[in-house]
């Protein structure tokens, strides 16, 4: 309708950013596929990409609920658990079921489904659970809803470990030997023991997540998506427009859980074993962190920050958890860098508060001064009295860094990386700034103004 309607030229927007976005996505898929053929399959890179794709899907599903419908739910780990269990229960080959369900006589389910049917089934079962608990829970608002869904996730985790359900869920024992992402690699003659001819495991993760996220994207931009956003923005108004609140909230909750279930199945494929105790509320918080950092209400943001988060927590920031010992010159280097950082932050605070009210300025300067003196004093102490162990780095410091990051994001960048923008909007903005820059360089400063009319920025 956007293009075919008789809306004026002014109202119709150029489709170029959408085309560029499409090209970027195709390029990413090609790049992943090529990388997979070239780089050694044991590389950390693929592990990060696969888990990143999984988390991107789950974060997108959480964003559909939290960012687009305005329902604050913390049940994501519970729905992922359901998806993961359904997927693995139905894909373990019949011949190895005895070794997996060793305490339960091979379990009672003796069917094996193709992996994608099991994935979808996982989503459907998660959606059915969502519908059941949604009936009572969706009457609640904001924090109450969050508490109720969090409780649901905990209950599900306990129930799946219950020995009575052992013949189905294998109790508290792990499920394993089901097809994982590595089973997606194409082998010569289809023989599972033959060498791999085409690596496809990471690409397959990207394809599954990509299809699901594309579906979420289409939903968000449909009439339903508009109704979701209307509910988020103003329930009373939405109701006055004839939107059935209960039905749409339920729809959003069920669809979000469906995709969380598929995400859970993907996580099972990534981890190769499934055990209920891994699906803790900590997992939900990780996903919430991704959604908040990416921007509540931006799918692009969720995807981007999912990869960023997974790369940092699994790979780039691992070193924060390891103790490290410095050589004497490295110790000096560390102290110089630390002083530079302290000086930079102090200068930044100084310049930012130059025009603040005298009272605030005085207070800020005083606090900065005290912090500077303390930090520099500590550095001096470290140089002359301290040992050679790198300060702070030890087991658990990574979590501290993440906590500081989320506090910083929430306090100073509450809109996250992307705000509510998607990639095409971003490209449009970049294009507009580029145009303005061009006009400015050509000395035609005034002309950039006319572009403001179509602006989408806030």
């Amino acid at each position: 309708m956007k293009t075919s309607s008789p809306l004026s030229k002014q109202a119709a927007r150029s489709r170029v950013p959408e085309i560029i976005t499409g090209c970027i996505i195709v390029a990413i898929y090609l790049l992943v596929f090529v990388l997979e053929q070239v780089v050694s399959p044991g590389s950390m890179l693929f592990s990060v990409l696969k888990k990143g794709a999984t988390y991107a899907l789950v974060a997108a599903s959480m964003n559909l609920l939290n960012g687009f419908t305005g329902l604050f739910s913390l049940g994501q780990a519970g729905f992922m658990l359901i998806g993961a269990y359904v997927y693995s229960i139905f894909t373990i080959p019949v011949e190895v079921r005895h070794s997996v369900y060793q305490y339960y006589d091979g379990g009672i389910i003796q069917h094996t489904l193709p992996f994608f049917i099991a994935l979808i089934l996982g989503g459907i079962v998660a959606a059915i659970f969502a519908w059941l608990i949604g009936l009572p829970v969706l009457r609640l608002k904001s924090d109450y809803l969050a508490i109720a869904t969090l409780g649901f996730a905990e209950i599900i985790r306990a129930i799946f470990q219950w020995g009575f359900l052992g013949p189905i869920t294998n109790g508290s024992n792990a499920l394993r030997l089901f097809p994982n992402f590595d089973s997606m690699n194409i082998r010569q003659g289809g023989d599972p023991s033959a060498p791999v001819s085409i690596y496809f495991s990471t690409t397959s993760a990207f394809i599954i997540a990509g299809i699901c996220i594309a579906l979420i994207f289409m939903l968000v931009n449909s009439t339903y998506g508009r109704a979701f956003k209307a509910i988020r923005d103003d329930e009373v108004s939405a109701e006055a427009m004839g939107i059935n609140l209960a039905r749409h909230k339920m729809l959003s909750f069920v669809i979000s859980s469906f995709f969380a279930g598929i995400g859970g199945g993907m996580l099972a494929m990534f981890m190769s074993t499934v055990q209920a105790k891994n699906f803790t509320s900590g997992m939900t918080y990780e996903i919430l962190l991704i959604v908040v950092i990416g921007g509540i209400g931006s799918l692009t943001g969720s995807i981007f920050s999912a990869f960023l988060f997974v790369a940092c927590s699994e790979w780039w920031l691992r070193f924060l958890d390891n103790e490290m010992f410095l050589t004497p010159p490295a110790k000096i280097q560390f102290i110089v860098v630390a002083i530079a950082i302290i000086a930079a932050i102090s200068l930044l605070t100084y310049f930012r508060n130059r025009h603040a009210s005298p009272k605030k300025r005085k207070r800020v300067y005083l606090l900065t001064g005290i912090a500077d003196v303390l930090l520099l004093g500590w550095l001096l102490w470290f140089q002359f009295m301290g040992g050679y162990q790198m300060p702070l780095l030890r087991n658990g410091f990574r979590s501290v860094v993440f906590a500081v990051v989320i506090m910083t994001v929430v306090l100073f960048f509450s809109r996250g990386i992307m705000g509510t923008k998607e990639l095409p909007d971003l490209i449009r903005d970049i294009g507009r700034s580029g145009q303005n820059l061009y006009h400015w360089l050509c000395g035609k400063r005034g002309t950039g103004k006319s572009l403001k009319g179509g602006a989408n920025d806030v």
């Binding site: 309708m1 309607s5 008789p6 809306l7 004026s8 002014q10 109202a11 927007r13 009439t223 508009r226 109704a227 956003k229 209307a230 988020r232 923005d233 103003d234 009373v236 108004s237 939405a238 109701e239 006055a240 427009m241 004839g242 939107i243 059935n244 209400g297 509510t420 009319g453 179509g454 602006a455 989408n456 806030v458």
Partner: protein
């Protein structure tokens, strides 16, 4: 014709409406004036199905609206512009308008009506892609009216369209109300700005603590001593 007879509404134990009778004839502007807490908004909320009355009847062209779900009432052509504008701040102007057409299925008709709203409010057209939350108060009111118009109402109910707007903008809004009315729309207007409302209205009702105390042509009410004293500040 929208007809209300003996309507009682209560919130918990508190009676907001104590049996009002009201008629909105086809093609007219009817206004309901009254002080804070008189029950004006409650009347509108009862008509649009947002609150359930204790007793009474609300009929449109003889059809009972009481007990109908909200979306059916909208499909009957009775639509409300809520108090305080309440546009969807994080959605673009175009998306806001499309939400207004949420219950309609005819895509071509919707596109036509969007064009029509844009000719009524050229300002909105300039702001097509802008987030509604970044519009000025007057523009938001225009958007709220435009959004309601997109559901193709037969009766448009407006809850204090002048709330919090500068006098000049209020004049614009009222001239647009008259314009829409001239194109055949029936309008039920709720106002605290009695002077403005009675000037445009064909029929006026005065509501006091849940009862209709006065009824008459708008121009006549403007000259009424009681109305002058209580609502016009003379």
């Amino acid at each position: 014709m929208l007809k209300i007879t003996d309507l009682h509404v209560a919130y918990g134990g508190i009676k907001a409406l104590r049996g009002i009778d009201l008629e909105v004839p086809e093609g007219k502007i009817v206004t309901l004036i009254g002080a804070n807490g008189a029950g004006k908004s409650t009347t509108l909320r009862a008509i649009s199905g947002l609150v359930t009355p204790v007793q009474g009847s609300i009929t449109y062209n003889g059809k009972q609206l009481l007990g109908m779900p909200i979306n059916k009432i909208i499909e009957e052509g009775i639509v409300m512009v809520p108090e305080g504008r309440r546009v969807f701040p994080d959605m673009s102007v175009l998306e806001n308008l499309k939400i207004g057409a949420y219950l309609r299925k005819d895509k071509a008709g919707i596109a036509e009506d969007i064009e029509w709203v844009y000719t009524l409010f050229p300002r909105l057209k300039e702001r097509n892609w802008q987030m509604a939350g970044t519009l000025s108060g007057g523009e938001q009111q225009m958007l709220a009216v435009g959004r309601a118009l997109l559901s193709r109402p037969k009766v448009l109910m407006m809850d204090e369209p002048s709330l919090g707007l500068a006098p000049l903008i209020v004049r614009d809004i009222f001239s647009i109300i008259k314009e829409i009315n001239k194109q055949g729309m029936t309008i039920l207007l709720i106002e605290q700005n009695a002077n403005m409302a009675l000037h445009v209205a064909d029929i006026g009702y005065v509501l006091e603590t849940g009862n209709i105390t006065l009824k008459g042509p708008g121009k006549e009410l403007l000259r009424d001593e009681n109305v002058k004293r209580a609502y016009l500040g003379h």
